[in-house]
Structure formats: C-alpha cells, structure tokens
Symmetry: D3
Subunit: 302 residues, 6 copies
C-alpha cells in the first residue's frame, strides 16, 4: 500500500513559451519504452514478485525504494507536460471560432481530443505505454542487470529530450530526472557489485557524456541529490543502506540513505481551459460544498 502526498519533488517553473510540440516530445519520458511508466512498473512488479527475500532483503529494499521514487517521476513529467500544454489554444466557450485550429498541425492530437491538454501514457509518437515493457524474471542477477540497462537507456532518452527542448520547465524537470535516474543507475550498479564483486560502476557514464554537461542537473547535484537514496517509506526498506553506501563514482562523496520522501513542493495549479470544457463544471454551485464543509468541520474555500 501507499500513502500519497500532494507534492512534487521539485518546484516546476511556469513555461516561458508553452509549446504543444515540446509537450509531445516530452511524452517519451513518461510513456516511452524507457520512460518513467516503465521504470515505475518494472521495479513495482519486481518487488511484488521477489522470491526468497530474507537472506537478500537489501536487494529487495533497494528495488522497493526506487519503485517508490518513480511514482514521483511519472508525476513530475506529467505536470511538466500539463504546464507546457496550458494556454496553447485559444480560450473561450464558443466552438465556432475554431479555438483548436492549431491542434490540426500539432504532433499529438490526443492532447486535444482524448485529454484536456493533459498528459497521457503515450510516447513521443503517440504510441501507448504497454505492459510488455515490464521485465520481471525472478532471477535477481538478471533483474538487476536489466534495471541497470533500463536506467542507462532511460538516461540516453533524457539527454536527447533535453537537447530537443529549451524551455526552463522542461529542462528543470529533465535535469532533475538526470540526477535522480543517475542515482538509480549507480544504485543498481552497486547492487550488482555487492552481488558479484565486479566493479560495474566503472562502466559509467553511459552514454558517455557526464551529467555535469547539464546546468540544470548540476544545480541538483549541488544540493547533493545524486548522493541521497530516499526509502520513500516511513518504516520499511531500511536495509537499502547495505547496498547504497560508500563513495559515489562521480565525485567520491559518501552515498547516504534517507528515510522517507524528498520534502518537495506543492503541485502547480493548472488553469482551466474552457474551450475544452475542462473542467467544465461551470453550473456547479460551490456553496453546497461550503455549507457542508462548515457543518462537517472540513476546510474548504472557493
């Protein structure tokens, strides 16, 4: 089970230039083969399916902790997409003005037809995320090797996505993912090292360019976010510390485990898009809620 927080791990700036096609490209990091849906679901299923945990629980705990973090990653990519899509069409209630005319030439028409200018579990070509992206062999060494490869492949995608978009919303988000996904690469490498004695971390960086080339990533590394593995749990997964320790391969600083979640920031507010009837509850009278809230002692304002 989980507990949700209405918070994102980072503060997302409002886009300077909302861009439908930037949002479409960024979808690769959400619903692509190497997107955050894939990392989330791979580790989640591997944690459910992990056999014979007792003796090797630290491996279980690392996988489960990272699974916990990945939820926040689908969240932060989705919000970045949503911000990039906010205001890209003409606002208003009158359909005859063809407020969505530009969408005809946009790369992802689902953003306007299937969603209300919002994120979807699709990749940059509009192909849907699929469960066939999940690998869960039950063999620990193979699963760890997969995860190490998956994170390196995901890093490649992030680097290229970064090179496609210039807007600070997108780049801040990608910079963050490069750092945290980078930590996951090292975590799986360290897990393989613990299991086999092979110095897997020496293969890094894969691809060959360092995270230092990305200013937005550097900013988060200055906050030591490449060093801190969060358990994303109040009480569990503490044996992660038996894997995640020792020097970081990039700068030799000490790797540390922190119990709980990244403190984070409140989620951004997403403006209404009336031409999409989103959310569309214009006739609803909020006073109904206000009255009830008062009676029930629930905090509600409008």
């Amino acid at each position: 089970m989980i507990l949700k927080m209405d918070r994102l791990p980072i503060e997302l700036p409002v886009p300077k230039n909302p861009s439908a096609n930037d949002a479409a490209a960024i979808q690769e990091l959400l619903g692509g083969k190497f997107g955050e849906m894939s990392t989330l679901m791979n580790y989640t299923f591997q944690s459910f399916n992990f056999r014979g945990r007792k003796k090797i629980r630290p491996f279980y705990d690392v996988i489960a902790s990272i699974a916990g973090e990945e939820y926040g990653h689908i969240e932060v990519v989705s919000y970045a997409i949503n911000l990039l899509l906010t205001g890209v069409t003409k606002r208003g209630f009158d359909p005859t003005t063809a407020p969505l005319a530009d969408a005809v030439n946009a790369r992802n028409t689902y953003h306007y037809i299937a969603s209300g200018q919002g994120s979807l579990p699709v990749d940059s070509m509009g192909n849907f995320w699929s469960g066939q992206n999940v690998f869960s062999s039950g063999n620990l060494k193979l699963d760890l090797l997969h995860n190490f490869f998956l994170e390196c492949g995901a890093r490649g995608n992030k680097m290229r996505a970064y090179e496609m978009v210039s807007d600070p919303t997108a780049r801040t988000m990608v910079g963050y993912l490069l750092v945290r996904g980078g930590l996951h690469i090292v975590a799986y490498a360290k897990a393989l090292e613990k299991l086999t004695g092979v110095e897997v971390t020496k293969l890094l960086p894969i691809p060959d360019l360092s995270n230092n080339a990305f200013p937005e990533a550097r900013k988060f590394m200055d906050q030591k976010l490449h060093l801190q593995l969060y358990t994303f749990s109040q009480d569990d997964y503490k044996q992660s510390g038996l894997i995640w320790n020792g020097p970081h391969p990039d700068d030799g600083q000490e790797c540390v485990v922190i119990e709980g979640a990244i403190p984070g920031y409140p989620v951004p507010d997403l403006e209404e898009e009336p031409q999409l009837n989103s959310p569309g509850a214009d006739d609803f009278d909020p006073q109904v809620f206000a009255d009830m809230a008062k009676k029930m002692g629930i905090k509600y304002e409008y």
Copy 2:
C-alpha cells in the same frame, strides 16, 4: 509523491491447491481492461491532469484518494497470483528432469518463461495491459461518468472471476476487491450526484447481483469496509469528506472518511523456486551484509 508500506490491506491465506490456470485467470483482475492496473492508472492520470481544482477540490480529492488505494489493489492481486503459482512446478536445480513439463499445457506460459512464477501486467489471455485503457478527458462530469462505468465493468469481471476459482486465496482477495471496488462505485455515484443532483446510486447494483451473495465479501462488509473511504494520505485529500458522506445505498449506514491507509498486514513471504533460478543468488554470502549491518547499525538477519 508517495510513501510505500511493506503491507497488504488484507491477510492472504496460503492456497490449498496452488493452480497455474487459476492464477492465469486471476490475471484479468490485474492487467485486464477492467483490471486494477486500469483503475490505478485512470485515477492517477486524472489527478495529475485535473484543471481548475480550487472550487471543485472535493472531486479532485476523491479521485486522488481512490487512486491511492488502487496501488494496494494491484499489490494484493499480484500477491494472490504469486501465491497461486508457488510450488506448481517441480523444485530442484537439475534441468534434465524437465521440472517445468506441466507448464507446456498451462494457459499462461509467460508465468514460467518471462517471470519466475510471478505476476505480470497481462490479462487472462496473456495480452499486455496498455495505456489505451486510460481515460482522462479533463471534463469532470465525463471523467466521473467514465470512472463510474469503469468500476461497474470491473465489478462484473470480479464477480465472474470469483465464479471461476474456488481456492480461498483467490476468493478472499476477490471478496475484498468486491467490497472496496463497490465503495468506489458508490463514491463516483455520489460525486455525480453532488455535481448534477441525479440519484445515480439508485442504478446499483450493476451487474444486478448484490455483494451479499459473496460470503468473502460479506465478511469484509461486517468490518464496515464498504463504508470507510480512506484518504491514503497523511495530510491531503481531506475534502473527500464533502463527497463521501450520507447513507450507503446498500444498507443505509453512514459513509465515513478515514485519514491515512488501511492498517493491513505484512506481505506474505514467497518461497524460492530453484528450478527457475529464482532468486538464484545461491553463491552470495550473506555474512557480507551481516558485517556491514553491524557496522552501520542497520537491522539485518539471515
């Protein structure tokens, strides 16, 4: 972001008769069009994409709360599948004895080839869950109507899955889902009622048979689990109480919101399956962890 707990909402009995084909059938409730992956991901994306929250936040809070619960549902179905698959092939390290011979005639060969007798995001025919199962139009009334329909469709699947399997592990799990999914049906119905004034709860039950026909469901209703909407959050989504209140349509008892998660039970231990090399780390020396644990003050036993 989320916090994970190493707990399931219910205590799953060990199967009396582990059954490969029962497990294959139960996959429909995990990776089917109306399975828990679908409910989880629908509400998750709708919560990320929800525009114009302030005035109508109680709707957002209900969707987010239920999204939180659904994570525990993919978890409990996965564990039920894993338990049903434990021990269904011959154990041992020698491949020449054809320990997986029975798998040749099993309905889901992925359970033995792609996974280590573990759950996968597939349905009862082995087709993969897909992002096209996610609906997130951004229009509140339409999204709520979708969710109401989705939960009714899911209920139909659960009822039929129940009729396919007799093992107590599977039936306990399905009974639980009938009750909690039933609560979600009522929650979306009440949300539509609040939004429109139409008595949507009077359409229930859909399909026509009551949850009372399922003894394992009745057991959970006796614990009032059909009445308690958990926020699955420590601090957020409290305005759910402005939707989830008043009498329950089944028995007239009062609907109540409880902050946080269902207390639950520790997750079951999954035995090793050596013929699948799962987990396979037989050469690993746990003393390495024991020594390090001692040094780092981390609790670890083997």
Copy 3:
C-alpha cells in the same frame, strides 16, 4: 443481414479548402476509440449476443436500430475525409514531378501510401481501430451504461474535432453527428430510465456545452433530427418505440420512432487522382460494358 443504399444521410458540401491535416484530424471520428467504428461495432456485437430477448425486446430493438444507423455514420465520416483529401496533391501521370511532395510533411502518410487519398480505419494519430474497443458483457444494465458513456465520450470528441476544423464539409458532418449521436445518448439514457427508474437524462449535457452552441447542429435540430429515432429496418425493431417516447430532455418536444431509414442524398462523386493511379483503369474499354449492358438489359452509361 442488411440491405445497402447508395445514399448518405446528409448532403455533404464540397470543401472550400481541401486539407490533408483536417482530414487526418477527422479520422478520430472514424477510427478512434470513440469513433463511429466503435459505436457501430459495439451495438452490432451487443445485438448479436443479446440473451433472453423476449421479455425485454424493446432494449434489443433500440440497440439494433442504433447499430443500423451507425453504419451510415462511418459512411458519412469516410466521405467527408475523402472530400477533404480530394485534390490535395498535384494531379498527373508523371512521377518525376514529385506530385506527392507535400505528403512528406502531412500528419497521416497512410492517406497517400496505403490509400488513394481515402479514409482508413485509423484515428487522428494513425493508430488502427481495434476490436478491443468493443464492449459486450451480456449484462443489459452494464451494456446500456457502457453505451451511454461511449456516446458521451464520442460527443466530447466530436465537439473538439469541430473546434479544430473550419471547413464546411467537416463542420456539416460533425454538426450532423452531434445531433444524431446526441439522440443516441438520450436513447440509452431513456433505456436506463425504463430499466431502473433513475432520471439519467438529467445528467445531460455531457460534456457541459449544449448542441445549440454549434450552428450546423442547430440546423439539423430545426429539422427535428434530434427527435426521430429511425429503426433502419423495413420490418423489425419496432418495439424501439417502447423506449423512445416522451419528451426530449433538451426542449420537451415529443420523441418519435420512424420506421425505415433517413431518406438521405446520393453519395458524392469522388474525382480521379491519376498520380496515385486511382482508380487507374485507363486502358479499360468501357464499350465492353456498354455492349453487354445493352444485351442484358442493364442500365449503364459512360
């Protein structure tokens, strides 16, 4: 079985500005998850699979009648797409002039490679329509609820497609679909009302904007096309009248059943596209047909 008519339900104007990308967008209404292929095939399969018809035949008759109409809807969307694609590339027999050069930048290249500037069962992203869009649970209440939701979702897509395109061919077609699909929404709502007593029609409109906001829809409502359920059959499905009666929720006018099909108009003529070798039978001598026609007493002119 069916009888076909070489007629469309409405008269489609010739596009003022044929547009490849408008055509690509309109494909959503044909081959999308909520497109006319979906409505057609859902009701068609539900009618084939309907168990225990006798006592509740009016429900069967309504579903079958609407299934009949949907065929004309895939037809009218297809013709609109075909008209929008007519003439969008350079005409002629010489391939060296790169007559399809613009297609390289068009959103749907299948229109030029797989088809001869013609419609295909794909959506606005070029993803193919799939049978997984068909819901046929066999439970009447659940199937009706599905259909009600499906039509509301389809309405949302039509509204947004309308906002994307300005050409009168597309808008006339969408306006027509809004009215007739709107009638289907009300029909399924009334069916649920008859079955359960709940005032489902009061949930309308979903999404929140009225059809009155669309001038092309208003034109068809002035012809009372929102009030007339056609049986699309010579002799059958007459018990539809036991569901489709009483006041229309929009304007209180009386709902009426009309036996047979909408009178309609001849299908448009689609010009040749020689650069696509479409139809390409340039060496064929029509006199062969003329001679045979004369001998056999069949009407043929060229």
Copy 4:
C-alpha cells in the same frame, strides 16, 4: 446507409454438443486476419473510397454488393459461436458453486469474463481484430487482386476450421461460408478477367481441394447458392450483372444476379445465462412495456 433485417441467411441447428473450445476456434472466422470482419471492412472501405466510379461502376457495384453480404457473414458466425457457448457452464444465481470453474481451462477466457458467453471481434488466439487488416489502395486492379487473394486465404481458413470441428452448427455455418465465399472468389476473378482479359478463374480452386469435398457445402450448392450474386440492396448495385455473368468455373452453370437479400430465417433465440447475470434484468417488470405497448399500438408480448 443500410436497412437491417432480424434474419440470418441460413437456419442454424442447435449444437448437439456445445463446446467452449470449438467456439474459441471458430472465432478465427469472425475476428481473424482472414475472418468475416476483414472481408466486411475491406469491401466497405473500398466502396467508400472508390474514385472515378462512373465509367467503371460495375466494379464498384460488385464490391458494394459483396460488402453488403459480408455483414450477414459476421452475423452468422457470431450466432454460431453464441449457440456453441450456450449452456457450457453451470446455470444458477449462486456464485459460490463456482459455476464458471471449467472456464479456467478454456482456450478463450474472454468468452466468460468480457462477454456473456458471446462472440467477440477476436481470432482463435484471442487477439483482437484490427483495422490494419483493411486494404484500400484506391487502385482498382490492385484492390481486386487483394480481394481475390483475401477470399482465397479466407477459404483456406474455413477449410481448416471445418476440419477442427464436428458439431453440425459449426459445420453448417462453415459449409455455407465456403459456398458464398467461393462465389466471392469467382466474382473477384471475373472482375479481374473483365479488367485484364486474363483467365483468372482457371487458377481455382485455391487451396487445391474442391468445395464438393464438404457435404454441408454441397447441400447449399444444390440450392444454386454458388451461382447467385445478391445485390443486398433494394435499388442499387445492379451493374454487378455486367461482371457476374457467364458460366461458373466449377460446373458451367450460368451465374445470375438477384436483386435484394437472401430470404433467410429468423435469428435463433439465445437462452439466458443467470450465472453471468446475462441479461440480468430479473427485477424488471415487463408489464410496464405491456401497458405502454397497448397504449401506443406497438406489438409486444412476454
């Protein structure tokens, strides 16, 4: 547009031995790559997209006529499946008796979970029919060649499906399809002959075995059903006669066009399956309809 008839082209016997796996196999003829959904949708889209009709209308008329017949083919396969699935599980309202226990080992679990023991647009492996099975190039010669191949491929599938099942319901249906699909093969061959002068009919039979090897097919050939092309239209597609004429390649008898539809038989009644809540409207009071029927002058009995 179409007019529907509540009739099947043939009278389907009630199965002697309803069989879940026979039904699963027969699905190939409905939703397979070469199933009736494919023939229906190929000719339907080709007819919508046909450019430059006037001079070569007989080709258009033949394609449209056959498209009309194919609707009856998806219908007759669906009803055969539905009859084969009727009664294959234990009837009753009590889920605790595991009435669907056998379904766990059945080849197509969708028949019990997604449908109410009814047909679905899937093939014999449970894979969904897809729009990518539609070919509509717009080039007449290529489309005709495709159709000729498609029908030959479909014939191969029908022959093999016949060899898989022994029940008279299935074999009667397949025998009928062999004859009518065989007529379509000859029709497309004759169309190619008219267009090119090449004696395409001399390639037949493809595959090599004659329809005479199938007793149920012979029965329909004795009724001359291999000779009669129906227009499946009241008023249109009469120029089909300019293609469909002359001797049949099998027996030299004269090919004739008949206007309208095959007379056919009423559709079979499908029994209720209460364990599936299908149709499940047990609380509905039909007297409501009876009273209304009386008032409105509509015929209704229960």
Copy 5:
C-alpha cells in the same frame, strides 16, 4: 545459414539535401506492411516451412533465392534512411545549445530518441513492423498468390514513395527496388503460370504505370537488372532456373538465372553525430587495437 557481405547491391549517392521527413516517409519501404521487412520475412518463413520439397523443389528454390535478395533490400533502404538523416541536426557536444531542437517538429521523433539518426523497423507513421505481416499457409498455390499480391502492393508503395521524395539518394534506391521488386513480381507470376497454366504475367503492370516512367528504374533496366534472378547462394537454389526462364513480359528479353549475389558496392560510411553520443567512444584509445592487430596479424588502421 547465411554468409554476410559488407556490400550494398547499388552505389548510394550522398543526399543533396538531407531531410528528416523524407527519411521518415521512406521508413514505409522498410518497416511498413508492404516494406522490405515484410518481403524478407514472408519468403524466409515460407522457405523454412516448405513441406514436400522434392517434387516441386523449383518453387522452393525461387522462394529461397528471393528471400536471400530481400536481406539486401532491408539493408539498402536502411542505408538510404541513414544517409538522409546524417547531419540533419546541429553537431557538437554541448547539450545546452538544443542541437535537436528541430526534431521536436519532425515526423519521426524515434529517429532522434530511440536511434542515433538511424533506421528502425517502423513504417512512415512510426508504427512498428509486426510478425502478423508474415503469411505462410503451407499451401503452395496460396503462398505464391500471396507473394504475387504482396509484391504488387509493395510496388504501389514504392511508386508513391518515389513521388513523395526528390532527393537522388532516395530516388536511386527506390528506382532499384522498383526494378528488383518488379522482377520478383514476374517471378511469382511465372511460378503460378508453371503451376497452373494461367498467364498471370498478363495482369501486369499492377498498379497500371510501367517502370519505364521512372528514370532511375530505367537506368537499372538498361543494366538488365530486371532480367537476372540471382540465387544469392554459392551452391544452392539452382532449380530456380526451371521457373525463371523464357521471355520477360515487359520487353521479351530472355530471363536468366545467375548463381551467387549481385557484385555490389562497399557500404557507405556514416559520419559521427556527437550531439547524439553516436558512437560516443571518444575516450577509447585505438592504439590498443593497433597493437593487438599487429600481434595477431589482423589488418586494422585508424
């Protein structure tokens, strides 16, 4: 088994105007339903699965020979795509300059994210090639008919792709494929003629336009490449000559079989794209190889 050659059948010119969208369009000829992946895999599987070869080995040999050639076709289309994609983005190591900014508006974002500006097994819409494009019925006549149709369909796609692009790299490649694919059409037609006596070659050309309309194709026909069936084998498939002989239907010249492969040309060199870290081994010291090469007597230069 196969032996590979580091050679292409033709010499590909360097593009005058590298073009991302041209490359995206050309993908249809590689990974489309009628692309070279399909022809390769159809004949490959048919050759593996061919039953009862002895008596009818010439048919087997023709299919196997053509299967051998098709490998060179996926190769030449891939290289054409790779050349068209070379240099279309800004070169350099610094990601902050957004070197891939243009890719955001390109039709195939996979070219920049999933591949390093390289070919992928996708079609012009970015949909992946699928094994469902393989037809292998085991019935010789049906398989030959399929292959004849497949090649005609492929020819239609090539003609249209030619009309979309003007660059000499693309057109040279397409001209070559028109000639060689044209030979395959005639080969399957001759095979059907041998098997049935029907003059199938008289159906040609399909579609109706001759290869003579394409200057780049004429160039290869002047080299008699439309007349020479290569066995693509050192020792096998020689009985192809019992099918491939007699006059060519286009110009009456004699068809001849040549043992072995087309002589061909060295494969083009593909420049590095540093902004994609492709290939990215910048820290690798080639002297390691140079030293080892010297010691082992292997030729290596850098």
Copy 6:
C-alpha cells in the same frame, strides 16, 4: 547482402514424440521478446546504423558477425518447431473426418489455421514478434550493454524452455543455442571490457546456473563450439578477432575466430500434410520440370 546456404548448423534428430504444445512453447525462442528474431534484428539494425566505424571497427565486426549467425538460429528453431508439428494431426484428404480435431485444444491454433503446421514469428502465447524489440541507440557502449543484457535474458528463456520439453529434437536445439548464445554473451562482455576495462565477464553466468548442467550443451562444448566465433562472411568482419581473443571465462581455453560459416548439415525434409493441403500441388506434373531441366542442363529429380 547475404549468401544463403541450404544447411543448418546442427543435425536435428526426428522427434520421438511430436508434440503440438511443445512446439507452441518453443515458439518463445523464435518470436519472443528474447527470441532469435530479436537477436537477429537487433544486431542487424545496429550494424546498418553504426556511425563512425573506422576507428572502432572491431566492435562493428563483432556485431555484424553475430548478426550473421543469428539468421541460422531463427532457422534452426523454425525447423525444430516444424519437426515437432509434423504428423500431429490425422493425415488424409477427407475433411469430414475432422483430422484437425485435436487442434481445438492445442495452445497455438495458428499452427493449424495460419500455417501448415509450421513455425510463425510469434511467441509462446501466440503474440507476434514486433519491431519494438529492436534497440539501436547508436551509442556504442549502450548498444553493447543492451546486447549483453539481451543475450542474458535470452539465456534465461532457453534454460526454462529446456526445462519444459524433453524431446531430443527440442533439447538438442536448445543445447546448441545455449552454447552459441553463451558465446555471444561472452563476446559482448569482452567488447565491453575492451571498451571500458571493466571485467564484465566476471558477472557470468547469468542466470546463475552453468551450461554444464545441460548435457546437450556439454556435447557441443566438447566440440569447442563455445570457443569459436565465426565471422559468417567470406571476406569481411575479420577484425572481430581484436575483440574475440584471450581465455574463455568458463574454462580458460583460448577464444578463436574462424572465417566463414559453421559447416553444418543439410536441412531436414518436411513431410507433406495432405489434410492441410500442404503443399497441395497434387495435380502438378513434375515431368514438365524434368523435361525442361534436361533441356537447360539443370539437375532435377522427382
């Protein structure tokens, strides 16, 4: 380009007990995500797309050599499947005896309907191989890491497939693939070692069980087949020797490169299956070929 040989790398025994479901399971090794279609196509596309070859050609040569071998692997798995399917249904020309009756309960009905008891590009669940299984990032280190993981994953599948089937045809084939795939694992590990200096081979075996546990694999290792990398080319890819050299991690024997292909054995003869009309050319007179062969000097016997 390639040259084909009508030879398999090993001699396949005739199955003792042909088995439809064994064949269905073995399909995973052909068309599964980790099957031979995937290894073949991954390395093939990577070789086409390899940028900047000169300095790092040994890596290119290794990938290309292995790509060459994989063709023989899809071949040998296909033939094993074909042998396992030979004779599993009743032979004869009369369809009324239901010769395919058993196929109704078989796991892969495509084997009887789509193919003539022959292999198809599908996995053990009948899902089609897809181009999305191809990874070709263009970054050398990432591609090598992928290939290393892919081969380890493939090894896991082979081990489990071995444990499912006992027939010597299947086990001989799998034993061979374990050895040769094992060589590929080591080759990619050595490539990574050359590129990075990390001792990747020390991670082996993955999964944890040695190939020595498989008697059929040991037989091939006794022939030193785990040591010999073939270039699968007459003249090219010789720089593979700069990667493939030094001691083998399993037994310390020297790794050697051999130019050309494995000598191999003639392909097995596949018996006719008349109930499937496969191949079905019963009316064909081979004397036509015999006469022509004599005239043309081609060797042909029947």
